[in-house]
């Protein structure tokens, strides 16, 4: 009896180690394959060069600019709305009231909608009905809707983590509610809010299907938010559709490497904020 249990334990333990090894193997494989083939082709010329369809000297500067515009635009639309929503839910609304349930249900449903449906909606509503055309603005508005629930949820958690004594202290000193929120509650929830904004940045950089349906794929630097632009992910997708020459393969690997590096940097920033914040709390 005892012995068979021991065997079973060993077997299960082996399964756990095997699974973990498989996970790690895949992670290392993906990263190594892309970075080892791509990093050597990431050069200053590649990053700042203009895209030419044929030829060796092809760069991705226009895609970087489009991606940055897309991030800035969607964040500046979504984050104020999301933060104010979170403030309403935690500071104003009665916990558990009907309206809170409705708002929470709706934002959670928003989070569950597949991104391609956002693309479908954005293309009909922003591009066609509002007449914004395939533009950074249409893409930014679509992505703003997509990241709204992400920022709302994490900001709400950060606000709820602020001890009630802060609020009581503020009121006891005669501060108004809005002053207490602005000067006491928001600053102490700031690390959580910044983390959620960085997470959404990653989400905006990573999205592709809703982006090409709303912002198009023009490979020029957008001059205004009403111009079409191609983000890095959409660029990588387009590159993989026509992989013939070695130069095209190199470009694809280099673009994929840059995307991985971007995600890596964003992850490092969130880690630094988290450790600093935890130290400050302790």
């Amino acid at each position: 009896m005892m012995k068979s249990n021991l065997h079973k334990d060993q077997l299960l333990s082996a399964a756990i180690w095997a699974s973990a090894s498989l996970t790690i193997l895949f992670l290392v494989w993906i990263m190594w394959h892309i970075l080892s083939n791509g990093l050597s082709h990431v050069s200053w010329e590649f990053i700042t060069g203009a895209y030419t369809r044929i030829g060796e000297a092809s760069g991705i500067w226009a895609m970087i600019v489009s991606t940055v515009y897309m991030v800035l635009l969607s964040l500046s639309i979504a984050s104020p709305i999301a933060i104010m929503t979170a403030i309403y839910l935690t500071e104003y609304a009665k916990p558990g009231s009907q309206i809170v349930k409705v708002i929470r249900f709706c934002t959670e449903s928003l989070a569950g909608i597949p991104s391609i449906v956002y693309g479908l909606f954005g293309m009909t509503f922003f591009v066609t009905i509002l007449g914004l055309g395939f533009s950074i603005l249409s893409g930014g508005l679509t992505l703003a809707m997509l990241i709204l629930p992400v920022i709302i949820r994490t900001t709400e958690e950060a606000l709820m983590a602020v001890p009630n004594s802060y609020r009581e202290g503020g009121y006891a000193l005669g501060a108004s509610k809005i002053y207490t929120i602005w000067r006491l509650i928001l600053p102490s929830a700031m690390p959580g809010i910044i983390t959620s904004i960085i997470l959404s940045t990653g989400r905006v950089i990573g999205e592709s299907a809703p982006v090409f349906l709303t912002a198009g794929m023009v490979t020029q630097i957008p001059q205004s938010v009403l111009d079409s632009g191609r983000t890095l992910t959409v660029h990588l997708y387009k590159l993989t559709q026509e992989l013939f020459t070695q130069a095209e393969w190199d470009q694809a690997y280099a673009t994929a490497s840059i995307l991985i590096l971007l995600v890596l940097v964003l992850n490092l920033i969130t880690k630094i904020i988290a450790t600093r914040y935890n130290k400050a709390v302790k």
Partner: protein, 301 residues
């Protein structure tokens, strides 16, 4: 002291200022409320739009023709049964491969891994959760597709199987991270009590910890399923996208999401409406998924 306090309260409570402050507070309240309603309005607008635009295709083809029809020849025939089958099969396949590996990996990180190793693997898994899906698609295209090609002697490796493998890798980090968090969130006393009763570590993991973390693990799996069924670009890149009913896992096929992404940019009229109805079917699946999660977690409570 007493004096200043009463003076202060007199200032705060003096009529005009109190009114002004009340007025400001009301304005702030209204602004916050309006912001909160934007999310509600967004979801209603998207829902209303998708259903309104998809309706003509349902009316023209009929719900059974659309959902059970096998021929996709817009603007004449809008059978999306092949896409429904492909979406379900590829998601199911990915879940069958990925979920056991992911849950055991989560157990590894939460319970068995030495601290230094967990501190390396955990951030790596989190990093993988953030990598754009086109990068996974690219990896699938250059590694998985040629492997399938040579392993099965196919002319082209762009098949459902390639899609399943890419999706399985993609949902791995999602399921691992959330499962691990829910295992770690369990009170230490569960483990201590099991040890005190003489249970081995492995026995404790499988009979005490995993069952107790069930609701978090269900959530992790449902988020993994949602990611798999909603994935678009990675699938387009590796699955071949033929809109016919697939005969086996080694044939190219098109998912619901791919159907929308491939044709939306040039579709007009009833064709566009058919793509919206594809979106409706996708949303129905997501709703069913969330309802079953709700049911599973309520049953437990």
């Amino acid at each position: 002291m007493m004096n200043t306090l009463s003076e202060a309260s007199a200032i705060i409570l003096s009529e005009p200022r109190a009114n002004k402050r009340q007025w400001q507070a009301d304005i702030a309240h209204v602004i916050f409320f309006i912001s909160a309603m934007i999310g509600v309005i967004s979801v209603l607008t998207i829902g209303w739009f998708v259903f309104k635009e998809g309706l003509p295709a349902f009316q023209q083809a009929g719900i059974t023709q659309l959902v059970l029809g096998k021929e996709w020849l817009p603007p004449a025939l809008f059978g999306i049964a092949p896409m429904i089958v492909t979406s379900l099969i590829s998601t199911l396949g990915a879940v069958i491969i990925s979920v056991p590996v992911a849950i055991l990996s989560a157990v590894f990180l939460a319970e068995l891994a030495p601290k230094w190793l967990a501190n390396i693997v955990r951030p790596a898994v989190e990093l993988l959760a953030g990598i754009p899906s086109v990068v996974y698609g690219f990896f699938g295209l250059v590694i998985i597709v040629p492997m399938i090609e040579s392993a099965f002697g196919l002319p082209a490796g762009n098949t459902i199987l390639a899609g399943i493998i890419v999706l399985a890798v993609m949902i791995l980090p999602t399921v691992i991270t959330i499962s691990e968090t829910s295992i770690r969130a369990l009170p230490r006393t569960y483990k201590e009590a099991a040890f005190a009763l003489g249970a081995s570590h492995i026995y404790t993991i499988f009979k005490v910890l995993l069952p107790s973390a069930r609701s978090g693990i269900y959530t992790a799996i449902s988020l993994g399923i949602a990611r798999a069924i909603g994935e678009t670009m990675a699938i387009i890149m590796v699955m071949g996208n033929a809109p016919a009913m697939p005969g086996s896992l080694l044939e190219p096929a098109r998912t619901l999401t791919a159907n929308i992404a491939m044709e939306m940019s040039y579709a007009t009229g009833i064709h566009a409406s058919a793509l919206y109805s594809t979106g409706i079917v996708l949303l129905v699946f997501i709703m069913l998924l969330n309802l079953s999660l709700l049911y599973l977690n309520n049953k437990r409570a």
